[in-house]
Amino acid sequence: MTGRFGFLRRRLLQLIPVVLGITILTFFLLRLIPGDPARQILGQHYTPTAAAAIHKKLGLDEPVWTQYRLFMDRLVHGNLGQSIYYNESAGSLITQRLPATMFLIVYAAVLAAIISIPVGILAALRQGGVFDQSTRLASLVAFAMPSFWVGIVLLLIFALKLQLFPVSGYGNGLTDHLWHLFLPALTIALAFSTIVIRTLRASMLQTMRMDFVDTARIKGISRMVVLMRHVVRNAIVSVVVVFGINLAYLVSNTVIIENVFSIPGLGQLLVDSVSSRDYAVVQGTTLVLAFFVVAVNLLTDLAYAALDPRVRYE
């Protein structure tokens, strides 16, 4: 038990510099704006008084470290600043958009697991066979396909031509969400599956060469039972790890796909806010998505440690 808590404590301590770093980097993003941010925000409506008001609102009239302290002070109180476009707090905009994004990410992850676990296992069982070769060829092509294009093609075929799914939106209620988000989630899942299948296959092949597999077979346990109990169980752990380390990639894809299917999530909010020069919302969305990745990475690490006790004592 001490091992488990020791691991948890170590892992939580590692989080502190990362979380602080994320806040510093997002804070300094605003400094990248060339020239005077007030001029960018106001555009044609630029007057010195209005600019001074914007400076005050963004805290630009203070020294940098005071600004950062102010930024952190607001952040711990859940204040992400004010959206100039929606005239609403960035925090409440993000909270409204968060559920659609989370739903889509989880949905895509589940579909990716449903697609890739059987395919990865089958490919490994007949290494070099027809199924294995065609899986590899398919993933070579799939890897080169930009996900937004795959989304458009699926939308064209299944939503516009066959009219099986809605073209856009998020819907109301659980089953409606599942129906509306099926194509977007499938698009993300297909891109993600190429990675998961590859890792699962490699991990299965590695495990099948282990001594304990031979031992189990020699003891007279059937091939099927050895596969399920010894090989697949070990290989599934690697799937958890793949999900963890590629979560950022999953989130990136979600941002693009939300824009293809007009899903009112954080990705759409982010891209819309770029064109409306809504810097507070861009900053807030970036921060929230980065925190989300860090938090889920922590959870996958803990899940990994729970599934495979060897990790805790390393």
């Binding site: 990362v18 070579l140 930009p146 064209l156 516009l160 590629n246 990639y249 810097y279």
Partner: protein, 290 residues
Amino acid sequence: MLGTSDALLAAMEGRSRSRRRLGSGRVTLAVGVLILGTIIVAAAAAPLLTSYKPDAIDPLNPLAHPFTHGHPLGTDAFGRDILSRILYGGRIDLLIAFGATSVTVVCGTVIGLVSGYFGGWVDTVIMRIVDLVFAFPFLVLVIAIIAMLGPSIFNMFVAIWLTSWISYARITRGHTLVAKRQEYTLAARALGYTNRRVMLRHVLPNVVSFVIIFAMVDAVGNVALGASLGFLGLGAQPPSPEWGVMISDGQNYLLSAWWLSTLPGVALILVGIGFSLIGDGLADILRPGE
């Protein structure tokens, strides 16, 4: 796409991306070079292959189907020839692939080499920055930087340059740490060679193959990233024939003119497959048995 951490880990551990063997390394490499080479030549020789200008509007001939006389791939809503747009757009997308990748390869490799070779506080600082950038979803960080600089193709390059070097720094640093302890490096240092010479002549040649193999995967990611940003309106801007912009333009005519959005995507896939095959072939040839 977008530089998956998985490919990065593979490069760090020195295994080829997937151990896929679609024929031997040389065949794979040759097919990849053939595909990519054809696209490069076609984009470069665009004026010879088509008589249309990519932005020439023909109001009398909008949304012509593929295989229409004079327009083998059809026309868009303004009557612009799709084949010509794809060929000229290829120049932009290939520029993104090479321009974004080459700068980050060089900078990231140098940073990783210095970081791994000298160690100490330089290494600590650089690696903390690397860890930090890795904590962000890559595309979100790129979009946030573009948001601050303003959407344009040049600012897109800046955003990619600012963020992509970290993968190369990480790979190079890891392999530099290994090479640093090898006897040939120790011998070179014992002979009194300068640090610069040891780094460039002894460490780098043993590290560079990992970098090159990863660069091919990264190029696939950068082509997709450039097109994605063009599609989102954050990279190349209309009326540019950049493939992502073309796909975005065609979205409004999806049902009536499917070819507007789908055909530029096929071009993107071909470029991606070309780079992937070159990467796989090189992995087989440069690092056999891994």
